[in-house]
Amino acid sequence: MSDPRLRHWLLERLLPPLVLFVVVLGLWKGATVVRDIPAYLLPSPERVWQAAVGEQAELRAASWLTAKGACFGFLLSLMGGTLVACLFSQSRLVRFGCYPYAIFLQTVPIIAIAPLIITWFGFGFFSVVIVTFIISVFPILNSATTGLTSIDADLLDFFRLHDATRWQTLWKLRLPHAVPYIVTGAKTSSGAAVIGAIVGEYFAGFGSGDFGLGYLVFAKASQLKTDELFAVVIASTLLGVAIFGTVSLVGETILSRWSGVNDER
C-alpha cells in the first residue's frame, strides 16, 4: 500500500466503479422493497444471487458450452478472415469483386438466416459455431484487408526491385504489417463471438443433451423464472468479459513483442 502509484490506481480506477456498483445495487434493492415489485418483473439482488448459487451447476455447464462455441467460432473467424484477406490482398479485382458480399455477412440479420442454417446444418453445436462465425468474421476480414493492403509504396518498390515473389511479399511484408490490424480486429471479433454463440444457441442450441447460455435465456424467459434469467445474463456478461480480456491480453503481448517496444526503454 506504500506504493503511491498503486494507491492512485486504486483511488482513480477501482474505487469509482465500485461505488457505482454499490449505489446501483442499493437502488435496485430499494425499488424492489419500496415499490413492492413482483419478483417475476424485477427480482431483488439477493434472489438473483440465490438463483445463481442454486443453479450454479447448470450455469457452469452452460457457460462452458457457450465458451466452446464462441472460441471455435472466433478461431474459425480469425483463420478464415485472415486467409480470405490474404486472397483479397493479391488482386484488386478479387477484392472489389468479393467485398460487397463480405459486407453482406456484416449486414444480414441473423434472425433472417437462422432458419436456413438450421435447415442446412440442423440443431446443435455445429450450427451455433456457424452463426458465431458469421457474426464475428467481418471485423477480422475488414481490418486484416486494410492491414495487408495499406503498405508503404516505397517498401513495395523495394520488394519489387529485389524480384520478391508474391509469396515473399505476403509473408515478409504484408502479413507482418497487418499483425497490429489483425489484433485490433480480433478484439472486436472476440466480443462479437460471445454474442454470436448466445444468439446461435437461442435459435439452434437444441438437439443435444447439453444446453448453452443462449438456450437458458430462451428457457428461463418462457418459464418466467426472472431471477434465474438475471443469473444467466450475468454469466453471459462475465463470459464475454473473460473472452474479450483474454484476447486483448494475448494481443497486447504480441504487439509489444512485435516492434520491440518493450525491449529497451
Binding site: F158, L161, S259, G260, D263
Partner: protein, 257 residues
C-alpha cells in the same frame, strides 16, 4: 565507342496517365564507376528519371539501356541494383541486422552465408555491435538512414541509386552521411546516381552534376566537378567549392526562367 557507357538514355520521355509530361527528351550517358548527381527543383522529374533507371517505371518514349539491356530485362545475376529512398523504409518489426538481411533473404541467400556480408556492411557504414539488435523506432533519423544505406550496400551493388536520401536530415547529419557515403563509394566504386535538391551536397559528392528544369523535366546543364578523391570535409570551405556551387545554382536559376 571503345568503351560502352553503363547507362545510355536517348531522347527519353515519360508521360503519366492524363498526358502530364514528367520527362522530355533526356539524353544521358553514365560510365561504370561514376558518381553522378542530378539536381533540380522539386517536381522536375529527377525522381522519375531514377525510377526509370531502376526499372520501377517504364518510359513512354525514347530508349534507356543499362549494360545494353533495358532496365526491365536486367541481367540480375551479373548486375545488382540498390535503391535508397528518401525515407529509410525499414521494416519496424525487424531489428537492424534483420533489416539489413532482407535483400539477401529475398535473393534466397541462407542466414549463415549472409552473416559475413552483414557484418561487413555494418562496419562499412559505421554501425556498432550495440546497434545490431535495436529496432528502427529506437534509432534517430540519421541512424535509420545509415541502416538503410547498409541494407543497400549489403548486396554489393554495382549500381547504387539514391533518391534524396538525406533530405529529411539536419545539416550536420547530412554532411556526416555525405562523408560516409563518399568513403564507401571510393572503396567499392559502384556506379552511383544521386538525386538531390541540395547544391552543396551534389558538389561535394559528385564527379559530374546534371542540372534539370521542370515541366517537362529535362537536363539543362552538365557541370563536371574536378576535385580529387578522397575529398576532406574542409573542401566545403574552399573558394573553388563555392565557385562550383555558384555555377550549379546559376544553371538552376537559368533553367527555371
Amino acid at each position: 565507342m571503345s568503351e560502352e557507357s553503363l547507362i545510355t538514355a536517348t531522347s527519353l520521355g515519360k508521360e503519366f496517365a492524363g498526358g502530364q509530361a514528367a520527362l522530355a527528351d533526356v539524353d544521358l550517358q553514365i560510365e561504370a564507376g561514376d558518381f553522378v548527381s542530378i539536381v533540380g527543383p522539386s517536381g522536375c522529374g529527377k525522381s522519375t528519371l531514377l525510377r526509370l533507371v531502376a526499372g520501377l517505371d517504364s518510359p513512354t518514349s525514347g530508349t534507356l539501356q543499362i549494360d545494353e539491356c533495358s532496365p526491365g530485362e536486367k541481367k540480375r545475376e551479373s548486375r545488382r541494383t540498390a535503391f535508397v529512398f528518401q525515407d529509410a523504409t525499414l521494416l519496424p518489426w525487424r531489428n537492424v541486422v534483420e533489416n539489413i538481411r532482407l535483400p539477401l533473404e529475398l535473393d534466397g541467400v541462407s542466414n549463415s552465408a549472409s552473416n559475413v556480408a552483414i557484418d561487413a556492411s555494418l562496419q562499412l557504414i559505421g554501425l556498432t555491435a550495440d546497434d545490431r539488435a535495436k529496432f528502427p523506432r529506437m534509432l534517430s533519423g540519421g541512424m535509420r538512414m545509415r541502416v538503410s544505406l547498409a541494407r543497400a550496400l549489403v548486396t554489393e551493388p554495382d549500381l547504387l541509386l539514391l533518391d534524396e536520401p538525406f533530405g529529411a536530415l539536419d545539416d550536420m547529419m547530412r554532411q556526416r552521411l555525405n562523408e560516409d557515403l563518399l568513403r564507401v563509394w571510393t572503396e567499392k566504386k559502384p556506379t552511383a546516381l544521386f538525386v538531390t535538391h541540395n547544391v552543396a551536397e551534389a558538389v561535394f559528392l559528385s564527379q559530374r552534376i546534371l542540372v534539370m528544369s521542370s515541366s517537362p523535366g529535362r537536363i539543362v546543364a552538365e557541370i563536371p566537378i574536378p576535385f580529387e578523391f578522397p575529398r576532406p570535409p574542409e573542401l566545403r570551405a574552399t573558394a573553388e567549392f563555392a565557385r562550383l556551387a555558384g555555377e550549379v545554382s546559376a544553371a538552376l536559376r537559368e533553367g527555371q526562367s
